[in-house]
Amino acid sequence: MIAPIVTLFLMMMVLCAIAALQVSDLLGAVVIFGAFSFFSAIFFTLLGALDVAFTEAAIGAAITTVFFVSAIYRTHRKVT
């Protein structure tokens, strides 16, 4: 029975989401956001969605994070 583990990861995702929105440093938020994507990829794997997990890891975790980072560098990482 994997259901409790699934729920656990879902909770981790919720925590990461809250943290990403609350952490004061933008780059830190992006890193947490990457972790969020990573947890969701694991979550998808647990539910048997291997393709989705793969895509989420490659696109969501890697490329989106890179986009965010490069955009933040182009602007500034001011704290809000």
Partner: protein, 122 residues
Amino acid sequence: MEAETLSVVNYWLAASLFLIGLYGILARPHLVRKLMAMNILQVAVIVFFIILGYKSDATPPIVRQGDETPIARNYINPLPHTLMLTAIVVSVSTTGVALALLIRIHRRFGTLDESELIEKLK
């Protein structure tokens, strides 16, 4: 019974993710943060769909070697997975465009804070 409770909890958690995203978009002042919230919102939708597709005691939707006549009961529903691949790609595309817009905004107004921006637009 327990499976049902857990199932509702999972739906609720997905809903919470959705709401966190919505909250971030509405309430967080920094535009990059809003964008992250938008991503969270989209992931929430993806999570929801993936939960829909899941079947207990079934394997991922790849035909096992030697299984000549696959039976629906034994494999997880592949359709939501397909749909969500699209959703992920849409989400990264939207993010890319949004970031480009952000850079333009920052170029012109020197800030990405919503209230400051409204101030400068006046």
